[in-house]
Protein backbone atom coordinates (compact mmCIF):
# COMPACT_ATOMS: atom_id res chain seq x y z
CA UNK A 1 0.00 0.00 0.00
CA UNK A 2 1.41 3.43 -0.88
CA UNK A 3 2.56 5.32 2.23
CA UNK A 4 0.57 8.39 1.29
CA UNK A 5 -2.65 6.41 1.37
CA UNK A 6 -2.00 4.44 4.54
CA UNK A 7 -3.20 7.18 6.85
CA UNK A 8 -6.53 7.37 5.01
CA UNK A 9 -7.16 3.65 4.89
CA UNK A 10 -9.19 1.78 7.48
CA UNK A 11 -8.93 -1.72 5.95
CA UNK A 12 -7.10 -3.15 2.95
CA UNK A 13 -7.59 -6.53 1.30
CA UNK A 14 -5.25 -8.06 -1.27
CA UNK A 15 -5.90 -11.27 -3.13
CA UNK A 16 -6.72 -13.07 -6.32
CA UNK A 17 -10.12 -13.67 -7.88
CA UNK A 18 -12.60 -12.87 -10.59
CA UNK A 19 -14.68 -9.92 -11.61
CA UNK A 20 -18.08 -11.26 -12.60
CA UNK A 21 -20.62 -9.33 -14.68
CA UNK A 22 -24.39 -9.85 -14.63
CA UNK A 23 -24.30 -11.84 -17.90
CA UNK A 24 -21.88 -14.29 -16.26
CA UNK A 25 -18.73 -13.10 -18.04
CA UNK A 26 -15.67 -13.46 -15.81
CA UNK A 27 -12.24 -11.84 -15.83
CA UNK A 28 -9.45 -13.14 -13.63
CA UNK A 29 -6.94 -10.99 -11.86
CA UNK A 30 -5.08 -9.92 -8.76
CA UNK A 31 -6.95 -7.29 -6.83
CA UNK A 32 -6.75 -4.85 -3.94
CA UNK A 33 -9.74 -3.45 -2.10
CA UNK A 34 -9.32 -0.46 0.21
CA UNK A 35 -11.82 0.80 2.76
CA UNK A 36 -11.05 4.44 3.44
CA UNK A 37 -11.53 6.13 6.80
CA UNK A 38 -14.16 8.24 5.01
CA UNK A 39 -16.23 5.06 4.56
CA UNK A 40 -15.75 4.69 0.80
CA UNK A 41 -14.63 1.41 -0.77
CA UNK A 42 -12.22 1.63 -3.70
CA UNK A 43 -10.38 -1.16 -5.48
CA UNK A 44 -8.08 -2.12 -8.34
CA UNK A 45 -7.93 -5.35 -10.31
CA UNK A 46 -4.96 -6.25 -12.49
CA UNK A 47 -6.40 -8.31 -15.33
CA UNK A 48 -4.37 -11.24 -16.56
CA UNK A 49 -6.02 -11.10 -19.99
CA UNK A 50 -7.49 -8.24 -21.91
CA UNK A 51 -10.41 -8.19 -24.30
CA UNK A 52 -12.00 -5.23 -26.07
CA UNK A 53 -15.19 -6.30 -24.34
CA UNK A 54 -13.96 -5.00 -20.99
CA UNK A 55 -13.50 -1.52 -22.45
CA UNK A 56 -17.10 -1.51 -23.62
CA UNK A 57 -18.28 -2.57 -20.17
CA UNK A 58 -16.22 0.25 -18.67
CA UNK A 59 -17.72 2.80 -21.09
CA UNK A 60 -21.24 1.59 -20.27
CA UNK A 61 -20.65 1.64 -16.50
CA UNK A 62 -21.71 -1.98 -16.12
CA UNK A 63 -21.87 -3.28 -12.58
CA UNK A 64 -19.95 -6.36 -11.48
CA UNK A 65 -18.94 -8.35 -8.42
CA UNK A 66 -15.52 -9.47 -7.25
CA UNK A 67 -15.25 -12.90 -5.71
CA UNK A 68 -11.91 -14.12 -4.50
CA UNK A 69 -9.48 -15.30 -1.90
CA UNK A 70 -7.23 -13.00 0.08
CA UNK A 71 -3.55 -13.63 0.60
CA UNK A 72 -4.23 -14.51 4.24
CA UNK A 73 -6.75 -17.18 3.24
CA UNK A 74 -9.95 -15.27 3.98
CA UNK A 75 -12.74 -15.12 1.40
CA UNK A 76 -14.00 -11.85 -0.03
CA UNK A 77 -16.90 -10.65 -2.11
CA UNK A 78 -17.35 -7.09 -3.30
CA UNK A 79 -20.77 -6.19 -4.65
CA UNK A 80 -22.16 -3.48 -6.94
CA UNK A 81 -18.74 -2.52 -8.26
CA UNK A 82 -18.36 0.05 -11.04
CA UNK A 83 -15.15 0.84 -12.92
CA UNK A 84 -14.08 4.46 -12.86
CA UNK A 85 -10.90 3.96 -14.91
CA UNK A 86 -9.32 1.36 -17.16
CA UNK A 87 -5.68 1.71 -18.05
CA UNK A 88 -2.67 -0.17 -19.36
CA UNK A 89 0.29 -0.39 -17.04
CA UNK A 90 3.49 -2.45 -17.52
CA UNK A 91 1.77 -4.93 -19.82
CA UNK A 92 -1.23 -5.35 -17.58
CA UNK A 93 -4.66 -3.81 -17.77
CA UNK A 94 -5.78 -2.21 -14.53
CA UNK A 95 -9.44 -1.63 -13.78
CA UNK A 96 -10.05 0.72 -10.88
CA UNK A 97 -13.46 0.59 -9.30
CA UNK A 98 -15.69 1.60 -6.43
CA UNK A 99 -17.76 -0.99 -4.56
CA UNK A 100 -20.98 -0.54 -2.62
CA UNK A 101 -20.66 -3.50 -0.34
CA UNK A 102 -17.95 -5.92 0.74
CA UNK A 103 -17.98 -9.09 2.80
CA UNK A 104 -14.86 -10.77 4.17
CA UNK A 105 -15.05 -14.00 6.07
CA UNK A 106 -13.28 -17.10 7.32
CA UNK A 107 -15.08 -19.94 5.57
CA UNK A 108 -14.30 -22.58 8.23
CA UNK A 109 -15.13 -20.47 11.28
CA UNK A 110 -18.31 -19.20 9.65
CA UNK A 111 -19.70 -22.75 9.61
CA UNK A 112 -19.33 -22.91 13.39
CA UNK A 113 -20.83 -19.53 14.09
CA UNK A 114 -24.28 -20.86 14.99
CA UNK A 115 -22.86 -23.04 17.76
CA UNK A 116 -23.83 -21.75 21.19
CA UNK A 117 -21.53 -19.21 22.74
CA UNK A 118 -20.73 -15.52 22.83
CA UNK A 119 -20.46 -13.54 19.64
CA UNK A 120 -18.32 -10.41 19.84
CA UNK A 121 -19.22 -7.52 17.56
CA UNK A 122 -17.31 -4.44 16.45
CA UNK A 123 -19.12 -1.79 14.45
CA UNK A 124 -17.26 1.15 12.88
CA UNK A 125 -19.25 4.39 13.10
CA UNK A 126 -18.85 7.39 10.84
CA UNK A 127 -18.91 10.97 12.17
CA UNK A 128 -19.52 10.10 15.82
CA UNK A 129 -16.98 12.26 17.66
CA UNK A 130 -18.40 12.43 21.14
CA UNK A 131 -15.77 11.64 23.74
CA UNK A 132 -18.03 10.06 26.32
CA UNK A 133 -18.54 6.33 26.74
CA UNK A 134 -21.95 4.87 26.09
CA UNK A 135 -21.12 2.21 28.61
CA UNK A 136 -18.53 1.98 31.34
CA UNK A 137 -18.81 -1.78 31.86
Amino acid sequence: MPNLLSRYISHDFVGKGEMIFIDGTKYEGNFSVYVFTSGSIIGSIFLTKFSTDINERFQNGQKFSIIGKLNDGLRISAESCVMYSLSHHLGTYVARFSANYTKVFDDDRLKDLDKRGDLHFEVGILNFYSRFELNSN
Binding site: S10, H11, V35, T37, S38, G39, S40, I41, L74, S98, A99, N100, Y101, T102, K103, V104, F105, D106, R109, L110, D112, L113, D114, K115, R116, G117, D118, L119, H120, F121, E122, V123, G124, I125, L126, N127, F128, Y129, S130, R131, F132, E133, L134, N135, S136, N137
Partner: protein, 304 residues
Protein backbone atom coordinates in the same frame (compact mmCIF):
# COMPACT_ATOMS: atom_id res chain seq x y z
CA UNK B 1 -23.60 5.27 35.14
CA UNK B 2 -22.36 5.83 31.62
CA UNK B 3 -24.26 3.15 29.80
CA UNK B 4 -27.03 2.59 27.31
CA UNK B 5 -29.01 -0.54 27.81
CA UNK B 6 -30.82 -1.90 24.77
CA UNK B 7 -33.16 -4.87 24.59
CA UNK B 8 -30.44 -7.19 23.37
CA UNK B 9 -27.09 -5.89 24.58
CA UNK B 10 -25.07 -3.17 26.22
CA UNK B 11 -23.07 -1.08 23.77
CA UNK B 12 -19.60 0.21 24.57
CA UNK B 13 -17.87 2.88 22.53
CA UNK B 14 -14.23 3.37 21.72
CA UNK B 15 -12.91 6.55 20.17
CA UNK B 16 -10.41 6.02 17.36
CA UNK B 17 -9.17 9.60 17.40
CA UNK B 18 -7.56 11.66 20.12
CA UNK B 19 -9.57 14.55 21.50
CA UNK B 20 -7.53 17.03 19.47
CA UNK B 21 -7.80 14.98 16.27
CA UNK B 22 -11.55 14.64 16.73
CA UNK B 23 -11.95 18.39 17.28
CA UNK B 24 -10.20 19.07 13.96
CA UNK B 25 -11.61 16.24 11.85
CA UNK B 26 -15.24 16.76 12.91
CA UNK B 27 -15.26 20.13 11.17
CA UNK B 28 -13.24 19.08 8.14
CA UNK B 29 -16.39 18.21 6.15
CA UNK B 30 -14.86 14.80 5.40
CA UNK B 31 -16.67 11.75 6.79
CA UNK B 32 -14.52 9.72 9.15
CA UNK B 33 -14.76 6.38 10.93
CA UNK B 34 -14.22 7.99 14.31
CA UNK B 35 -15.71 5.53 16.77
CA UNK B 36 -16.32 1.82 17.16
CA UNK B 37 -19.22 0.29 19.05
CA UNK B 38 -18.45 -3.04 20.65
CA UNK B 39 -20.82 -5.50 22.20
CA UNK B 40 -21.22 -9.15 23.09
CA UNK B 41 -24.31 -11.27 22.46
CA UNK B 42 -24.93 -14.86 23.48
CA UNK B 43 -26.32 -16.94 20.62
CA UNK B 44 -28.55 -19.32 22.52
CA UNK B 45 -31.20 -20.03 19.95
CA UNK B 46 -30.98 -17.58 17.10
CA UNK B 47 -28.80 -17.86 14.03
CA UNK B 48 -25.93 -15.41 13.65
CA UNK B 49 -27.74 -13.80 10.72
CA UNK B 50 -30.79 -13.15 12.89
CA UNK B 51 -28.56 -11.75 15.60
CA UNK B 52 -26.89 -9.39 13.11
CA UNK B 53 -30.26 -8.17 11.90
CA UNK B 54 -31.44 -7.51 15.42
CA UNK B 55 -28.19 -5.84 16.43
CA UNK B 56 -28.07 -3.57 13.37
CA UNK B 57 -31.70 -2.53 13.92
CA UNK B 58 -30.79 -1.61 17.48
CA UNK B 59 -27.64 0.24 16.44
CA UNK B 60 -29.50 2.10 13.70
CA UNK B 61 -31.97 3.30 16.30
CA UNK B 62 -29.15 4.52 18.57
CA UNK B 63 -27.48 6.22 15.59
CA UNK B 64 -30.68 7.99 14.58
CA UNK B 65 -30.97 9.42 18.08
CA UNK B 66 -27.30 10.38 18.29
CA UNK B 67 -27.53 11.93 14.79
CA UNK B 68 -30.38 14.07 16.01
CA UNK B 69 -28.58 14.93 19.24
CA UNK B 70 -25.40 16.05 17.49
CA UNK B 71 -27.04 17.29 14.25
CA UNK B 72 -24.70 15.16 12.16
CA UNK B 73 -25.55 12.00 10.29
CA UNK B 74 -24.02 9.04 12.11
CA UNK B 75 -24.03 5.75 10.28
CA UNK B 76 -22.20 2.45 10.43
CA UNK B 77 -19.40 1.70 8.00
CA UNK B 78 -18.38 -1.82 8.91
CA UNK B 79 -19.45 -4.70 11.10
CA UNK B 80 -17.10 -7.43 12.32
CA UNK B 81 -17.90 -10.63 14.16
CA UNK B 82 -15.39 -12.43 16.35
CA UNK B 83 -15.79 -15.78 18.03
CA UNK B 84 -13.89 -14.51 21.09
CA UNK B 85 -12.28 -11.28 22.24
CA UNK B 86 -11.60 -9.29 19.06
CA UNK B 87 -8.29 -10.30 17.46
CA UNK B 88 -7.07 -11.55 14.09
CA UNK B 89 -7.22 -15.14 15.34
CA UNK B 90 -10.88 -14.90 16.39
CA UNK B 91 -12.10 -12.99 13.33
CA UNK B 92 -14.97 -14.71 11.53
CA UNK B 93 -16.96 -12.33 9.37
CA UNK B 94 -17.24 -8.71 8.29
CA UNK B 95 -19.54 -6.55 6.24
CA UNK B 96 -18.52 -3.16 4.94
CA UNK B 97 -20.76 -0.70 3.16
CA UNK B 98 -19.71 2.21 1.04
CA UNK B 99 -21.30 5.23 2.57
CA UNK B 100 -20.58 8.90 2.57
CA UNK B 101 -22.89 10.50 5.11
CA UNK B 102 -23.38 14.20 5.10
CA UNK B 103 -21.08 16.24 7.29
CA UNK B 104 -22.50 19.60 8.37
CA UNK B 105 -20.97 22.38 10.34
CA UNK B 106 -21.01 21.09 13.87
CA UNK B 107 -23.70 22.41 16.18
CA UNK B 108 -24.90 20.02 18.80
CA UNK B 109 -28.65 19.86 19.37
CA UNK B 110 -28.06 18.25 22.74
CA UNK B 111 -25.14 19.43 24.79
CA UNK B 112 -22.49 16.70 24.83
CA UNK B 113 -22.60 16.62 28.63
CA UNK B 114 -26.28 15.59 28.38
CA UNK B 115 -25.89 13.16 25.49
CA UNK B 116 -25.68 10.15 27.76
CA UNK B 117 -28.90 11.11 29.50
CA UNK B 118 -30.61 11.92 26.20
CA UNK B 119 -29.72 8.61 24.53
CA UNK B 120 -30.85 6.55 27.47
CA UNK B 121 -34.15 8.33 27.90
CA UNK B 122 -35.06 8.82 24.24
CA UNK B 123 -34.06 5.24 23.33
CA UNK B 124 -36.83 3.99 25.62
CA UNK B 125 -39.37 6.35 24.08
CA UNK B 126 -38.44 5.93 20.43
CA UNK B 127 -40.51 3.02 19.18
CA UNK B 128 -42.14 1.92 15.92
CA UNK B 129 -45.40 3.58 16.84
CA UNK B 130 -43.69 6.96 17.21
CA UNK B 131 -41.82 6.40 13.99
CA UNK B 132 -44.99 5.62 12.05
CA UNK B 133 -47.13 8.33 13.62
CA UNK B 134 -44.64 11.14 13.02
CA UNK B 135 -42.62 9.73 10.11
CA UNK B 136 -39.67 10.29 12.43
CA UNK B 137 -36.86 8.59 10.45
CA UNK B 138 -37.66 10.27 7.15
CA UNK B 139 -38.20 13.67 8.75
CA UNK B 140 -34.91 13.33 10.63
CA UNK B 141 -33.06 12.72 7.35
CA UNK B 142 -34.46 15.91 5.84
CA UNK B 143 -33.59 17.77 9.05
CA UNK B 144 -29.99 16.51 8.99
CA UNK B 145 -29.74 17.09 5.26
CA UNK B 146 -30.65 20.74 5.78
CA UNK B 147 -27.58 21.23 7.98
CA UNK B 148 -25.19 20.05 5.28
CA UNK B 149 -26.37 22.13 2.34
CA UNK B 150 -24.60 25.32 1.37
CA UNK B 151 -27.34 27.41 -0.17
CA UNK B 152 -29.87 29.10 2.08
CA UNK B 153 -32.86 28.23 -0.05
CA UNK B 154 -31.81 24.56 -0.31
CA UNK B 155 -31.29 24.37 3.46
CA UNK B 156 -34.71 25.87 3.91
CA UNK B 157 -36.42 23.47 1.52
CA UNK B 158 -34.91 20.46 3.30
CA UNK B 159 -35.96 21.67 6.74
CA UNK B 160 -39.37 22.62 5.43
CA UNK B 161 -39.79 19.15 3.93
CA UNK B 162 -38.90 17.70 7.33
CA UNK B 163 -41.76 19.65 8.91
CA UNK B 164 -44.18 18.76 6.13
CA UNK B 165 -43.38 15.06 6.35
CA UNK B 166 -44.19 15.16 10.07
CA UNK B 167 -47.39 17.13 9.42
CA UNK B 168 -48.63 14.83 6.66
CA UNK B 169 -48.05 11.79 8.78
CA UNK B 170 -49.29 13.01 12.15
CA UNK B 171 -52.35 14.96 10.95
CA UNK B 172 -53.37 12.38 8.33
CA UNK B 173 -56.59 11.50 10.14
CA UNK B 174 -57.49 15.16 10.51
CA UNK B 175 -56.53 16.18 6.99
CA UNK B 176 -60.15 17.03 6.07
CA UNK B 177 -61.91 20.04 7.61
CA UNK B 178 -65.33 18.41 7.45
CA UNK B 179 -66.06 14.71 7.07
CA UNK B 180 -65.84 13.36 3.53
CA UNK B 181 -69.46 12.22 3.32
CA UNK B 182 -70.85 15.64 4.29
CA UNK B 183 -68.38 17.37 2.03
CA UNK B 184 -69.42 15.23 -0.92
CA UNK B 185 -72.94 16.69 -0.79
CA UNK B 186 -71.43 20.19 -0.69
CA UNK B 187 -69.29 19.39 -3.72
CA UNK B 188 -72.32 18.26 -5.70
CA UNK B 189 -74.06 21.58 -4.99
CA UNK B 190 -70.95 23.58 -5.87
CA UNK B 191 -70.57 21.66 -9.12
CA UNK B 192 -74.17 22.52 -10.02
CA UNK B 193 -73.51 26.23 -9.38
CA UNK B 194 -70.36 26.13 -11.50
CA UNK B 195 -72.26 24.37 -14.29
CA UNK B 196 -74.94 27.05 -14.31
CA UNK B 197 -72.66 30.04 -13.96
CA UNK B 198 -69.55 29.17 -15.91
CA UNK B 199 -70.08 26.27 -18.34
CA UNK B 200 -69.48 27.58 -21.85
CA UNK B 201 -68.31 30.96 -20.58
CA UNK B 202 -64.69 29.98 -19.94
CA UNK B 203 -62.26 27.61 -21.67
CA UNK B 204 -63.25 23.99 -21.10
CA UNK B 205 -59.87 23.04 -19.59
CA UNK B 206 -60.16 25.96 -17.14
CA UNK B 207 -63.65 24.82 -16.24
CA UNK B 208 -62.40 21.27 -15.64
CA UNK B 209 -59.61 22.65 -13.44
CA UNK B 210 -62.15 24.46 -11.31
CA UNK B 211 -64.19 21.32 -10.90
CA UNK B 212 -61.12 19.25 -10.04
CA UNK B 213 -59.92 21.74 -7.44
CA UNK B 214 -63.18 21.62 -5.49
CA UNK B 215 -61.95 18.52 -3.65
CA UNK B 216 -58.97 20.48 -2.34
CA UNK B 217 -60.96 23.12 -0.48
CA UNK B 218 -61.76 20.56 2.23
CA UNK B 219 -58.06 19.98 2.92
CA UNK B 220 -56.76 21.59 6.06
CA UNK B 221 -54.22 24.29 5.12
CA UNK B 222 -50.56 24.08 6.11
CA UNK B 223 -50.89 26.72 8.85
CA UNK B 224 -53.83 24.93 10.42
CA UNK B 225 -52.07 21.54 10.32
CA UNK B 226 -48.91 23.00 11.81
CA UNK B 227 -50.84 24.62 14.65
CA UNK B 228 -52.72 21.41 15.35
CA UNK B 229 -49.45 19.50 15.54
CA UNK B 230 -47.78 22.05 17.80
CA UNK B 231 -50.86 22.19 20.00
CA UNK B 232 -51.01 18.41 20.29
CA UNK B 233 -47.35 18.41 21.34
CA UNK B 234 -47.92 21.22 23.83
CA UNK B 235 -45.53 23.67 22.21
CA UNK B 236 -47.87 26.15 20.54
CA UNK B 237 -46.53 29.13 22.50
CA UNK B 238 -45.92 32.68 21.31
CA UNK B 239 -42.43 31.84 20.06
CA UNK B 240 -43.77 28.98 17.98
CA UNK B 241 -46.69 31.02 16.62
CA UNK B 242 -44.42 33.88 15.61
CA UNK B 243 -41.89 31.52 14.02
CA UNK B 244 -44.65 29.73 12.15
CA UNK B 245 -45.80 32.92 10.42
CA UNK B 246 -42.28 33.59 9.12
CA UNK B 247 -41.82 29.93 8.20
CA UNK B 248 -45.03 29.90 6.14
CA UNK B 249 -44.24 33.21 4.48
CA UNK B 250 -40.78 32.09 3.32
CA UNK B 251 -42.06 28.63 2.36
CA UNK B 252 -44.80 30.10 0.17
CA UNK B 253 -42.41 32.49 -1.52
CA UNK B 254 -39.89 29.75 -2.30
CA UNK B 255 -42.53 27.25 -3.36
CA UNK B 256 -44.21 29.64 -5.74
CA UNK B 257 -41.17 31.38 -7.22
CA UNK B 258 -38.24 29.01 -6.60
CA UNK B 259 -36.32 31.81 -4.88
CA UNK B 260 -36.69 34.27 -2.07
CA UNK B 261 -36.28 37.97 -2.64
CA UNK B 262 -38.71 40.65 -1.64
CA UNK B 263 -36.56 43.70 -1.38
CA UNK B 264 -33.28 45.19 -0.20
CA UNK B 265 -32.18 43.86 3.18
CA UNK B 266 -33.93 40.54 2.72
CA UNK B 267 -30.73 38.61 1.98
CA UNK B 268 -30.64 37.20 5.47
CA UNK B 269 -34.35 36.52 5.76
CA UNK B 270 -34.16 32.95 4.47
CA UNK B 271 -31.28 31.87 6.71
CA UNK B 272 -32.78 33.64 9.74
CA UNK B 273 -36.08 31.90 9.15
CA UNK B 274 -34.24 28.63 8.51
CA UNK B 275 -32.84 28.77 12.03
CA UNK B 276 -36.31 29.49 13.42
CA UNK B 277 -37.57 26.45 11.53
CA UNK B 278 -34.57 24.39 12.68
CA UNK B 279 -35.25 25.36 16.29
CA UNK B 280 -38.95 24.59 15.94
CA UNK B 281 -38.16 21.18 14.41
CA UNK B 282 -35.78 20.45 17.25
CA UNK B 283 -38.53 21.24 19.76
CA UNK B 284 -40.92 18.99 17.83
CA UNK B 285 -38.43 16.09 17.71
CA UNK B 286 -37.64 16.44 21.41
CA UNK B 287 -41.31 16.53 22.33
CA UNK B 288 -42.02 13.50 20.14
CA UNK B 289 -39.24 11.71 22.05
CA UNK B 290 -40.72 13.00 25.32
CA UNK B 291 -37.39 14.57 26.20
CA UNK B 292 -37.57 17.85 28.06
CA UNK B 293 -34.19 19.51 27.65
CA UNK B 294 -34.90 23.23 27.82
CA UNK B 295 -33.14 25.59 27.84
CA UNK B 296 -31.58 24.49 24.56
CA UNK B 297 -28.66 26.09 22.78
CA UNK B 298 -29.84 28.96 20.62
CA UNK B 299 -28.59 28.72 17.03
CA UNK B 300 -30.11 31.99 15.90
CA UNK B 301 -26.79 33.70 16.54
CA UNK B 302 -25.37 31.56 13.75
CA UNK B 303 -27.76 33.12 11.31
CA UNK B 304 -25.33 35.94 10.60
Amino acid sequence: MNSIQTEICVIKTKNLLSEEEAAIVKNSFIPHISTVFTTKIKNDEKTWKDIIEELMTTISKVLELSSFALATEHTWSYLKIYSGDPSISSFVYSEIKNTLPIVPTSHETIDVSRLQHFLNKSYQNYNNEINTKYNFSAALRWYLDSTSLRYDVMKYISASTALESILDSSIRDEESIIDKKTFKTVVVKLEQILEQELRGKIESHDFDSLLASLENINRRPYRSKAKKLLQSLGILDNEAKEALEDIISVRNKITHTGRFRIGAGDEKKVIQTYFKLFRLLRRIFLRILSYDADPLPDFTELSG
